[in-house]
């Protein structure tokens, strides 16, 4: 126990990067995913195809590969987005990847709203924006919240991938301590931290689902 208490603060040092990656991804990927989902269901065939290819590529390749591509690949072809900073590259890769997953979830939600409701709204004079804000998206949120919740929990665990770019998040710190002290205790501590984070998120998602629930 004394050993755990001793390494716990060291591991917590990495929590900033874990939470930062999680929060930035969630805040930026949700609206980006919503926009992409609108592109996936729009009338313009070319736009639908472009976003279709985007989601196919981003969902069809590993996040780790995308992180490497963004961090090493872009500078190699002369695209210097963030200089030598690593974290913004991580954010970019995570946001682009998760936006693709969120877009597909939102798309299924949009398409599950019956066509007749859109027609009723159009006849009542609603503009596309009003229809989306007042009629379609409140239903999309309710219908997609459980699937979004799954992705959010996966995101918490995926933040451990940032160690691959040499950033010190909780998993990387635990690995270093484990190598140094030749013990698996740091991994157990980090496992408990992930469980605690996902437990809190699960509760928040449950509350959100309860708030938007209605019978159909």
């Amino acid at each position: 126990m004394a050993y755990v208490l001793q390494i716990f603060p060291q591991i917590l040092d990495g929590l900033g990067i874990t939470f930062g990656t999680f929060a930035v991804t969630l805040i930026l990927a949700l609206p980006l995913g919503a926009l992409i989902s609108l592109g996936r269901v729009c009338k313009n065939r070319a736009l639908r195809s472009v976003f279709g290819v985007y989601t196919w590529v981003l969902r069809g390749t590993p996040l780790l590969l995308q992180m490497f591509f963004v961090f090493f690949g872009l500078p190699a072809i002369g695209v210097q987005l963030f200089g030598r900073m690593r974290l913004p590259y991580v954010y970019l890769a995570f946001v682009l990847n998760y936006a693709a997953y969120f877009a597909e979830i939102f798309r299924s939600g949009i398409q599950s709203v019956e066509k007749g409701q859109r027609e009723a709204a159009r006849l009542l004079g609603f503009s596309g924006w009003q229809m989306n804000v007042k009629i379609i998206w409140p239903q999309v949120i309710k219908k997609t919240l459980p699937s979004l919740g799954n992705e959010v929990i996966t995101l918490v665990k995926d933040t451990s991938l940032v160690y691959a770019l040499g950033l010190s998040e909780i998993f990387k710190i635990a690995r270093s301590i484990s190598t140094r002290d030749v013990t698996i205790a740091p991994y157990l501590v980090v496992g408990v931290i992930y469980l605690a984070i996902t437990a809190v998120i699960t509760q928040l998602l449950k509350m959100a689902e309860k708030k938007v629930y209605y019978e159909e």
């Binding site: 027609e119 006849l123 009542l124 004079g125 409140p138 239903q139 019978e215």
Partner: protein, 227 residues
């Protein structure tokens, strides 16, 4: 004339559905289009409301043209014009299509507050009066799933009527109703017509349309003829 439909033609993937359909509806008149499934009744309604574009022909609603055929060319109303035309139109769908995530009152007031920009209080006053007139007092806080088929239909009527349309269209209004509720629907529709609203009903329920209508027209092979 409130609604004038002339020589309306429409085909889907080369299969003709409407073949020079012509008829009219006056203000305060209840006109029913009776016909078998697949005869083209619903397509007529969808063309009138601008949900489908007619291939040829003329549709005039309260002096504005949804489409107009002149010298063999059919011009379609633009987005703005369609928006204006729809202010004169109300539609009650066969499956009602209420918004399931909001209570009855909000279903009825939403078009007033969002589209017509009416203050919420005034919209609620109008909606409550409309709900009361349709026998739905006390139901305003209920969600659509808590209502029976007949009640849902009356909410759909209230939603369509609260914006004060001149022409109200019904798509198969009795398809999901029991005989008692069907009888109630006759009274509701007659009352709306007495207030000066033109009513167009699409149905294959002969006893109902005979009771409720001033004129019954038949739709056969995409054309409209006297009943």
């Amino acid at each position: 004339m409130l609604l004038d439909v002339k020589d309306l033609c429409k085909s889907f993937k080369g299969v003709p559905v409407l073949n020079q359909a012509s008829f009219s509806v006056e203000a305060g008149e209840v006109v029913s289009l009776l016909g078998q499934s697949g005869a083209g009744k619903t397509t007529i309604l969808r063309c009138i409301t601008g949900l489908e574009r007619a291939d040829r022909g003329t549709i005039c609603v309260d002096g504005r043209y949804v489409c107009r055929e002149e010298n063999g060319v059919t011009a379609q109303a633009g987005k703005r014009e369609l928006f204006e035309i729809r202010k004169s139109l109300g539609m009650v769908f066969q499956s009602y299509h209420l918004f399931p995530h909001m209570p009855v009152l909000e279903n009825v007031t939403l078009a007033l507050t969002e589209v017509r920009k009416m203050p919420k209080k005034e919209a609620e006053r109008l909606a409550l009066a409309m709900l009361q007139e349709l026998g739905l007092e006390g139901k305003e806080r209920q969600m659509p799933y808590e209502l029976s088929g007949g009640q849902k239909q009356r909410v759909a009527i209230a939603r369509a009527c609260v914006v004060n349309p001149k022409l109200l269209c019904f798509d198969e209004p009795t398809a999901a109703l029991d005989p008692e509720t069907t009888e109630e629907m006759v009274h509701v529709i007659r009352r709306l017509a007495e207030q000066g609203m033109g009513i167009l009903i699409i149905s294959h329920d002969m006893p109902f349309v005979e009771k409720v209508s001033d004129r019954v027209l038949r739709v056969q092979a995409g054309a409209v003829c006297a009943g």
